[in-house]
């Protein structure tokens, strides 16, 4: 790490805004925070007196829990607001909500929202730092960072790897962040899935589109399957889950195409038997549980860094 470097971001809105240097710095910080999670007393006073609000407009268990644990381990005061969509339907806009939150003097707001760009809107209208915990079909930067951390742990590097991302690319903010992130870190990203789930212009984000899953997986170091997000489908994008599983699902046979030591990832929650067979999800190559563990460390690093990285 260069001596001069200071983490330059007030908000974490997306991987798009981060440089490879920023990403490396976050991953290094996260790696050092992993050590805290292995201590008997898993708590440091780093963010004592800081207030973190978790503002979730979409249901989420793992991401919210992961952020909450991260905030607690950093000794921050944290509050959860499950705004659901009820306040929105009552006519309170996101900006109103933001203004009301200002009275709590938060230092950090972690937001998840079904509209792309809502963290950007929030950041414009509030003094606090904003962390995007998933916005619409745009980005999910903390998930991507934990995926990169997991890959780096297992492969020792990211540069030069072949990453295959399979499935619902169009609705997946995880895919969008990972295409940007892994590409920035020097990996090659191949995507495949039903053509109806591949967004226009995804090549311009750095991905190579393959018409078959086999082609995408061929010689890959990392195979990541995405959740089929039935709730985001406005129209029938593929004929049936059965057909999906048989042509695009990750199974033992398809995995043979990848490198023998390839790792299997999934941002969860898995529709077992659809995106991935049970044996693959629970198999030796699967690192899905590491992803969850690394999530806390990455989120601790993000909280720490956007607060200026002081008092360690």
């Amino acid at each position: 790490m260069e001596e001069q470097y200071r983490f330059p971001h007030k908000h974490i809105l997306g991987i798009e805004e981060l440089s490879s240097q920023d990403i490396t710095f976050i991953l290094n910080a996260a790696a050092s925070f992993q050590e805290i999670s292995r201590r008997p007393i898993k708590k440091v006073p780093t963010l004592r007196g800081k207030t973190v609000i978790h503002l979730f407009f979409e249901p989420s268990t793992r991401t919210r829990l992961s952020f909450e644990i991260a905030a607690k381990r950093m000794s921050a005061d944290s509050f959860n607001i499950s705004a659901s969509t009820s306040s929105a339907t009552k006519g309170e806009s996101l900006i109103d909500t933001a203004r009301n939150l200002t009275s709590m003097n938060p230092d950090i707001i972690v937001i998840r929202h079904s509209s792309s760009g809502s963290p950007h809107l929030l950041a414009e209208h509030i003094g606090a730092s904003v962390i995007n915990a998933g916005d619409g079909t745009h980005e999910h930067p903390s998930q991507s960072l934990l995926d990169m951390l997991t890959v780096r742990e297992h492969k020792g590097k990211i540069q030069g790897l072949k990453i295959a991302i399979i499935g619902d690319i169009i609705h997946s903010r995880v895919a969008h962040s990972n295409i940007l992130g892994f590409t920035k870190m020097g990996a090659r990203v191949f995507v495949s899935g039903p053509a109806t789930l591949i967004p226009q212009g995804v090549e311009e984000m750095g991905a190579t589109v393959c018409s078959t899953v086999e082609e995408a997986i061929d010689d890959a170091d990392v195979v990541m399957a995405l959740r089929i997000q039935k709730e985001r489908q406005f129209d029938p994008l593929f004929p049936s889950l059965r057909e999906y599983a048989s042509f695009f699902g990750i199974n033992k046979n398809r995995i043979k195409k990848a490198k023998p030591d390839a790792i299997i990832m999934h941002p969860g929650p898995i529709n077992r038997g659809v995106e991935m067979t049970f044996d693959v999800a629970d198999g030796e190559q699967s690192v899905i549980l590491d992803q969850v563990t690394n999530g806390v460390a990455v989120r601790m690093a993000l909280l720490y860094l956007i607060m200026g990285g002081e008092e360690r």
Binding site: T137, G201, E204
Partner: protein, 435 residues
């Protein structure tokens, strides 16, 4: 309209494409009409009149915007007929045609009459109501075209939404012939555009925003051109935004289809990049497209494929606009920026001054069949004076419209309307000693 003035407009650059005039001249206005015209400094002002010297300024027939949303009745917090026509006057427009997607929808005599009476009361511009194609613009039954025409509608449209049912569109085109009403098509194939919020492509993908493909517009234009050609009726295509839309209309014209078309200043001034970081002031329908589309719009304006520049003036309050991008309403205000934005095309040699006035005055008058569009002796004194060199910044404070949802806020412009006269009455003036 209220009392008119006797006014000698002297030594302006008279640009009057209807009479193929472009040169220095005088115009004398008396009793709300153009009394005489002549060479520069050739006319005398009667004793009771005022004289204005317009050295360096353009003297043109009053501008006509054939596509605006005045929001009254029903959404007066966004705009009223008074505030919208005041904004029109400030932008150099002497007449506007207002779309029927008010609440209630303008699908009957009562609403048309209300609009006309409010417009007369306000007195800032002539207002030509556009009636609905279908009752309540619901897309099922034809509205009463005869009654609409009798009460003052100049055209019919379900603007804001397409006529999804092809049979209904065919019937509308046919039946409009009985009442000499123009059918205006908002061309959008909804099954392709549904839930979309910006132009489909790499940028929408990167922003995680659902795309509206250009084919959603083009397929519907193709359908409507086919129907119009088939039943041999005129059709006007509103707000075209893509290269292929221009090409479809060009080809239809070559084949003798009675089609006219408009684009809006934002489609030749901006691209999808204006969405930036989710700027809802760049959200409209059809969406901003790419530089390639923009260049095709230039060509269409140049070669006459596009007949009209209309603003699609669509005021919204912060309640509809200061929201998440996918939740925000479509549309921007446009009346006050149409002249300066079109002046940019004149300076870039895409349009001649006379071509600009055809697009903003002569053609819309002809297409909707209303008076105006020329400076002929005896015609109503609807006149706009444009200062091509006047520099200004379009700040939030200077917006006349009731709302400020414009992507052009804080833009620096050169060229604007400085005097607007409707039937001899001054409705807007930035000229000292006048108005």
């Amino acid at each position: 309209m209220s009392p008119t003035e006797t006014l000698l407009l002297q030594n302006g650059r008279v640009i009057d494409p209807a009479n193929q005039i472009d040169g220095p001249g005088d115009i004398l206005i008396e009793n709300g009409r153009i009394k005489t015209t002549g060479d520069a400094y050739s006319l005398q002002c009667p004793e009771n009149g005022k004289t204005v010297d317009l050295q360096g300024k353009w003297l043109v027939p009053g501008l006509i915007d054939m596509h605006v949303h005045l929001r009254e009745p029903g959404e007066e917090y966004k705009e009223t007929i008074a505030s919208g026509t005041k904004a029109a006057a400030a932008g150099g427009f002497t007449a506007v045609a207002c779309m029927p997607n008010t609440n209630p929808v303008n699908d009957c005599q009562a609403v048309t009459a209300l609009i006309l009476s409010k417009a007369r009361e306000a007195g800032f511009a002539r207002v030509y109501p556009v009636g609905a194609i279908s009752k309540n613009s619901a897309g099922t039954e034809l509205a009463e075209f005869g009654e609409l025409k009798q009460s003052g509608a100049v055209a019919v449209s379900d603007d804001g939404r397409p006529v999804a049912n092809s049979q209904l569109m065919r019937r509308a085109l046919e039946y409009s012939g009985n009442h000499d009403l123009l059918v205006i098509s908002h061309s959008e194939e909804m099954s392709l555009s549904k839930n979309g919020v910006m132009n489909e492509g790499a940028l929408a993908t990167r922003l995680g925003l659902r795309g509206i493909p250009r084919v959603a517009e083009e397929i519907m234009i193709y359908r409507d051109l086919s129907l119009a050609q088939y039943v041999r009726r005129p059709i006007h295509i509103a707000h075209i935004s893509t290269r292929e839309s221009v090409a479809l209309i060009r080809r239809a014209k070559e084949q003798g289809c009675m089609v006219t078309a408009e684009t809006a200043p934002h489609y030749f001034s901006l691209t999808e990049k204006a969405v930036g970081q989710y700027d809802t002031k760049a959200k409209m329908n059809p969406p901003l497209r790419t530089q390639d589309d923009r260049e095709a719009i230039f060509e269409g304006l140049k070669d006459g494929t596009i007949d009209v520049i209309a603003t699609d003036h669509a005021p919204h309050s912060p309640r509809e606009k200061e929201l998440e991008f996918d939740q925000a309403a479509n549309g921007i205000i446009g009346l006050e920026t149409a002249v300066p934005l079109t002046m940019n095309l004149v300076r870039d040699n895409i349009l001649s001054p006379s071509g600009m006035i055809e697009l903003l005055s002569l053609q819309p008058a002809r297409i909707i069949g209303v008076e105006g569009g020329s400076l002929s002796i005896g015609s109503a004194a609807d006149i706009t004076v444009i200062d091509p060199d006047k520099q200004f910044i379009y700040t939030k404070e200077r917006v006349v419209s009731k709302n400020t949802n414009s992507p052009f806020l804080d833009w620096e412009f050169t060229g604007k309307a400085v005097l607007t006269i409707v039937g001899g009455k001054i409705t807007f003036s930035e000229i000292e000693g006048i108005g």
